[in-house]
Symmetry: C2
Subunit: 300 residues, 2 copies
């Protein structure tokens, strides 16, 4: 039996002394010039996918030993079909090999028997390319999540359930009703996680809670006291490190803060002018790590 | 400019005189013995995926010229990674080539820039393997759907937004609040579809509404008067043809009724004992088509 995801995550955060998560979002249109073939619709698709893979393998190298985890975003790989799927597998395998936890950002959801197939696909069947955890969408309800909990129980994997997403229009449905839907979802997430708590006390069932809704995070944290938070919205989406503080438990534990474009495409920002894409990405990642270490004064 | 999805769908339903949708859900564990290598974890993955593909190409052949559309379910392909993705592409391309509309059951959802990448992946970039429409999950709100509407506007593709799913536990979040969340989602789906109505009057933005909640369908139909319904829940999930009636507009138009396991794995049911998988599947599909033709007395 593999160590539960919760314990592997908590150990990695404490060992590295920071909660930074590097989002591997290869927006084809934004890739550095060196990888521009990826966005050329006339180029052979396999070649385009290899360019995405080469780019991300370099990012994985930057992230390894520095942050606990990476989060590949499936959509951008799917744009390149089966060739993109192969790039996904190679990037996931390389990240695992480099000692990074891999959180597959797939946001899947379906009825029970199909949800189970998604869980097996990413958390069990994928061999060296399997994810340590995936993101899932709760709209279908508890019976769509339960088969995934069973996959986690037998494989030691984890989930991050969308609770409060970081996009500007997310309140439309997530705030519906009184109490708002998001509180109901949060209570269920806490309940789903009860049987999956690790020795560290945290659960392997996490929640996605955007840093862009800072005023709501405290209440959600209270509803989900043992739930690891995956916090998007920092950096390119506008939130600063301070907005993420209520997501954490003591000592910078219990949350991962994601940055994708802010690191991968840092060279596009004025403060990194003149640098190579890789120097800019390294500097942006180092700055993020330093910011969070300072915030928590965490042990290294 | 391609004819809008709404018009292509409506024309196909009227031409074939039935609203039947064959769900291509290759549950590895349920595939006929002839394709059992697909579930053998020791077999090379490419060989497993080819077995899935061979099975589904035969199903596509059964469905062609008989029903308007097929609905491949991504999860079961994803279990076989990049090899499964290649099988997906080949099955989608073969179905299009056979004159079937292809509704990719992917239930994707993400923030705007990522949602757009999903839309491009399935509705634009996939060449001959592209889908005519995909299923999407609304939990993230309007700004997660709008980029997909834009993809539909420029490509003539369609969407089916999850509104009321067929699973037993779907009320947990979908009925939250007063009015229930599902009514709010339905109103938005109708609104999203306004700018995408075809000449037939229907919109290219559809809704997934399970036949397992027969009592709720009339109200949802009233909230979404121009929205094509994709109706799961018939057959293996328990609902009969009668329960689907309120989903339809006049003359059997405006809805597609899905059957997946009830057709693909019909040979497992006692009434088809002794038949080959393919004869059982053909008989089950013919029976479904006949049932719906009788229900609407539709023109052939």
């Amino acid at each position: 039996m593999t160590t539960p995801f919760a314990d592997r995550l908590d150990a990695a955060v404490q060992r590295l002394g920071n909660p930074c998560l590097v989002g591997l979002d290869p927006h084809l249109e934004l890739l550095p010039e060196e990888f521009a073939v990826a966005r050329d619709p006339e180029a052979p698709r396999a070649e385009r996918a290899r360019a995405v893979e080469r780019f991300l393998l370099e990012v994985v190298e930057l992230a390894a030993g520095k942050v606990p985890a990476v989060k590949p975003q499936s959509a951008f790989f799917e744009r390149l079909g089966a060739d993109g799927a192969l790039a996904w597998e190679r990037v996931c395998a390389a990240a695992r090999e480099a000692g990074l936890l891999v959180i597959g950002d797939v946001k899947r959801s379906d009825i029970a028997s199909t949800a189970e197939a998604y869980g097996r696909a990413y958390l069990e069947d994928a061999g060296e390319a399997r994810c340590d955890a995936i993101t899932v969408n709760p709209y279908l309800g508890a019976d769509s999540i339960e088969p995934l909990l069973e996959v986690c129980r037998r494989s030691g994997a984890g989930l991050f359930v969308l609770v409060r997403t970081s996009n500007p229009g997310s309140a439309l449905f997530q705030h519906h009703g009184e109490p708002p839907l998001v509180h109901l979802v949060a209570r269920e997430v806490a309940r789903w996680g009860e049987g999956l708590r690790g020795e560290c006390g945290l659960s392997s069932v996490g929640a996605v809670v955007g840093a862009t809704h800072a005023g709501e995070i405290g209440k959600l944290r209270a509803l989900m006291p043992y739930t690891p938070f995956l916090v998007p919205g920092y950096g390119a989406q506008g939130a600063g490190a301070a907005e993420t503080v209520p997501s954490f438990l003591g000592g910078g534990r219990g949350a991962l803060v994601n940055s994708s474009r802010g690191i991968l495409f840092a060279a596009r920002r004025p403060e990194h002018e003149g640098k190579s894409w890789k120097d800019a990405a390294r500097d942006a990642l180092d700055a993020m790590v330093a910011e969070f270490r300072a915030l928590f004064d965490a042990p290294r």
